[in-house]
Point group: C2
Chain length 334, copies 2
DNA sequence: CTGTTAGCGCTTTCAA
DNA sequence: TTGAAAGCGCTAACAG
C-alpha cells in the first residue's frame, strides 16, 4: 500500500501538501494539486484511515448495535439511520448482539477501542454497557428500548399506549378473557406493553391477572411456547395480545398446529408489524411502529450530540398506530 | 481516556512493560504484572485499537457486506459467520449494500481504509469492488454469489440444481405452463436459477421461452410486479418458479389480490426459504439453502486465507434441498 | 502557498 | 526481565 510519503515523493511535494489535497484544504496551487492527484492515481493511493483517525482523534463510523438482526423491525430502522448518516458523512456498521448482554458488551468494547464516532444501541437491558460508552465520552443514542439508569438520548415509541389500543380493539370485538404474551422481564419495552395491556383491561373491569400472562424471549420459538403454555395450563383465554412481532408469528404457528381457528376461537393482535402480515392467513392485526422514522430520528439525535456533546439528553417518543386486519375481527360473537 | 503511559506512570514501570502485560507476553515479573493490572483497573484503561492496529498493521475485525439486510436469508448466514469469527478472535461488523453497487463500493473503500482483517461479501455484481479488495491484499471470500472475473474464495450453493428440483416437482404435480420470475440479469444466482428452470422444462419437452420469464429485483415488490406482468400479458402460466424468497412473497401477494387460488389455479415454488413459509396460506414450497452452514463455511475459508494468503482460491458448493409444502401440491389435475 | 516538525498511542527491536 | 527509542501513516501548528 502506497503511503502519503510515496505520493509526496512521486509528485515532488511534501506530505503536508498531499494531505491538504486529500482533505480538500485551503488554496493549494492548482498545478501542484494536479500533480498530486496524478501521483495518487498512479500509485493507487488510499489514505490509511487508522493513521488518520489516530491523529485526528476521531473516526467517521457509527456503530448500530441491534439486538436481533432476524427481526424485520430493524431492517427499516437501519435504513433510516443509514440515510441520515450518509448525508452527514458517516458510514454505518451493524453489530448483532443477539439479545446477549455479553455479546453486546463485546461490541461496546470494540466501539470504544475503535474510537467509533457514535453508537446507536437497542440495548439488551444492561445499563452498564451503555454507561461505559457515556463515561468514555462516546456519543450514544438509545433506540427502541429505554435504558434505565443511564442519562442518554433516546428514541422510543409509546409502547404502553400502543398496547392499550390493541387490547381496546380486542375488547371492542367482543373477546372476554384476553391474555398477554410478554417479553423478557428485564426489557422496558416488554414491561410497558404488558402494562398497557393491564391498563386497558382494568379500564373495562376485566381481569388482568398473572395467570393470563406468559413471558417469551421476543423470538418466534418463544411465542410458540408461550401460546402453548397459555392453552395447556387451563386459563382458557379467547384472545391474546402478543408483545412483539416474531412472537406473534410463533403464537400463530402454535394456534395453527392446535387447530384453533383465528379469529373465531382466538383473537390475536401483535405489537410491531411484519412485512408480510397480510399474507398470513388470517392476516395479522398489529400495532405498527414508525420504524424508518425511529432510525432517522436516532441518527439525527446522534449527529446533534456529536456536534454538541454537553447538551442535556433528550427523549423523543414516536406514536404507534393500530392496524386492524383479520386476526382480531371475529365474525360472530362468542 | 487513559493511555498506556498513564498506566506505566501509575504502576512505576515503562510503557513497554504495560504493553507486555496487556498482550499477555512472555515472562513479566509477577509482582510487576500485578501492579500493572491494578493500575489499569484504577485508571479504567482501554487500549486504543487505532494505535495498536496502526502499529501492528492489522486489525481484528471482519466486515460482512451483504446485499439486503431485509432478507432473512442473511440472518442465519451472519450467525454462522459470527460463531466462527468469535472462536477465531475476530469481531464481525455488517455492512448493508442494499443491492446498490455504489453503496457497496463505499463499504469496500471503508474496509480498505480501516484495514479490516478480512471481508465476506455477497456481491451486487460488480467484480471491480471485489478486485479492489484482492489487489489491496485484503483477504476476501465471496458468499452466495459467485463473482465472475475475480479469483476469489467462494461459498455457493447449487443454484441450477435447486431450480431444477423445484421445476421437476411442479411438472410432477401436473402443471403445464411453468413460468419463471428471475432476478436481476447481472446476478449469477438469478442466471443460474433461471437456467435450472429452463433445463428442467426442456428435459420434459416443455416450452421454456422468453415470454414465460419476467425479471424482478429480488425484493418483495419486484415479485409482485413480475407476477402481475405474467398474468396481464396473456401468457397464462399455470405455475411459477420464483428465483428468490422475497419475490415469492410478493408473487403470492399478487395472486391473493387477484383472487387466483394457489395451488389449484397456480402452482408456486420459491428459491430459498423464509422462517414463516408454513404460516402463509397456502404454505410455501421452497428450495431450502443451508444458510447457517454457508456463513460458517465462508468464515472458515476466510480464516484459512488469512493464515495462508497465497494459496489458490477455492470454491465450495453446498447442496440445496426441496421442501414441498402446499403451494405446489395441487389437489386435482387441471 | 508550502515545507518542517512534532506527535496521536501503541508495539517491538535492541541493549542493558 | 525490563526500559529506551524508533516508527506505523497521517495531520496540524508553525515558520518561511
Amino acid at each position: 500500500m502506497a503511503t502519503i510519503y510515496d505520493v509526496a515523493r512521486q509528485a515532488g511535494v511534501s506530505a503536508a501538501t498531499v494531505s491538504r489535497v486529500v482533505n480538500g484544504r485551503a488554496s493549494v496551487d492548482a498545478a501542484l494539486t494536479a500533480r498530486v492527484q496524478q501521483a495518487m492515481r498512479d500509485l493507487d493511493y488510499r489514505p490509511n484511515a487508522l493513521a488518520r483517525n489516530l491523529r485526528r482523534q476521531r473516526t467517521s463510523i457509527w456503530a448500530v448495535i441491534i439486538s436481533d438482526i432476524g427481526n424485520p423491525f430493524f431492517t427499516s430502522m437501519v435504513r433510516g439511520v443509514e440515510d441520515v448518516a450518509q448525508g452527514a458523512g458517516y458510514s454505518v456498521v451493524l453489530c448483532n448482539s443477539d439479545e446477549d448482554p455479553a455479546k453486546e458488551a463485546r461490541y461496546v468494547a470494540a466501539a470504544l477501542a475503535e474510537q467509533m464516532a457514535g453508537v446507536i444501541i437497542s440495548s439488551t437491558g444492561k445499563p452498564a454497557n451503555v454507561n461505559r460508552l457515556i463515561e468514555a465520552g462516546t456519543p450514544v443514542v438509545a433506540i427502541d428500548r429505554e435504558v434505565r439508569g443511564a442519562a442518554v438520548d433516546s428514541v422510543l415509541v409509546d409502547n404502553e399506549h400502543g398496547a392499550e389500543l390493541a387490547v381496546e380493539q380486542l375488547i371492542a370485538a367482543g373477546y372476554q378473557r384476553i391474555a398477554c404474551i410478554s417479553g423478557p422481564r428485564r426489557l422496558p419495552t416488554a414491561q410497558q406493553r404488558q402494562r398497557g395491556w393491564a391498563k386497558a383491561l382494568r379500564a373495562h373491569r376485566r381481569p388482568a391477572t398473572d395467570d393470563l400472562v406468559r413471558y417469551g424471549d421476543f423470538r418466534q420459538e418463544g411465542g410458540y411456547q408461550a401460546m402453548a403454555a397459555l392453552l395447556d395450563e387451563g386459563e382458557q383465554p379467547d384472545a391474546v395480545f402478543v408483545a412483539n412481532n416474531l412472537m406473534t408469528v410463533g403464537a400463530m404457528e402454535c394456534l395453527v398446529d392446535r387447530g384453533i381457528p383465528v379469529p373465531d376461537r382466538m383473537g390475536v393482535v401483535g405489537f410491531d408489524d411484519i412485512p408480510w402480515a397480510h399474507l398470513v392467513r388470517p392476516s395479522l392485526s398489529t400495532v405498527v411502529q414508525p420504524t424508518y422514522e425511529l432510525g432517522r430520528t436516532a441518527a439525527l439525535l446522534l449527529a446533534e450530540r456529536i456536534a454538541e456533546p454537553t447538551r442535556p439528553p433528550s427523549t423523543v417518543t414516536l406514536r404507534t398506530e393500530l392496524k386492524v386486519r383479520e386476526s382480531s375481527a371475529r365474525s360472530a360473537a362468542s
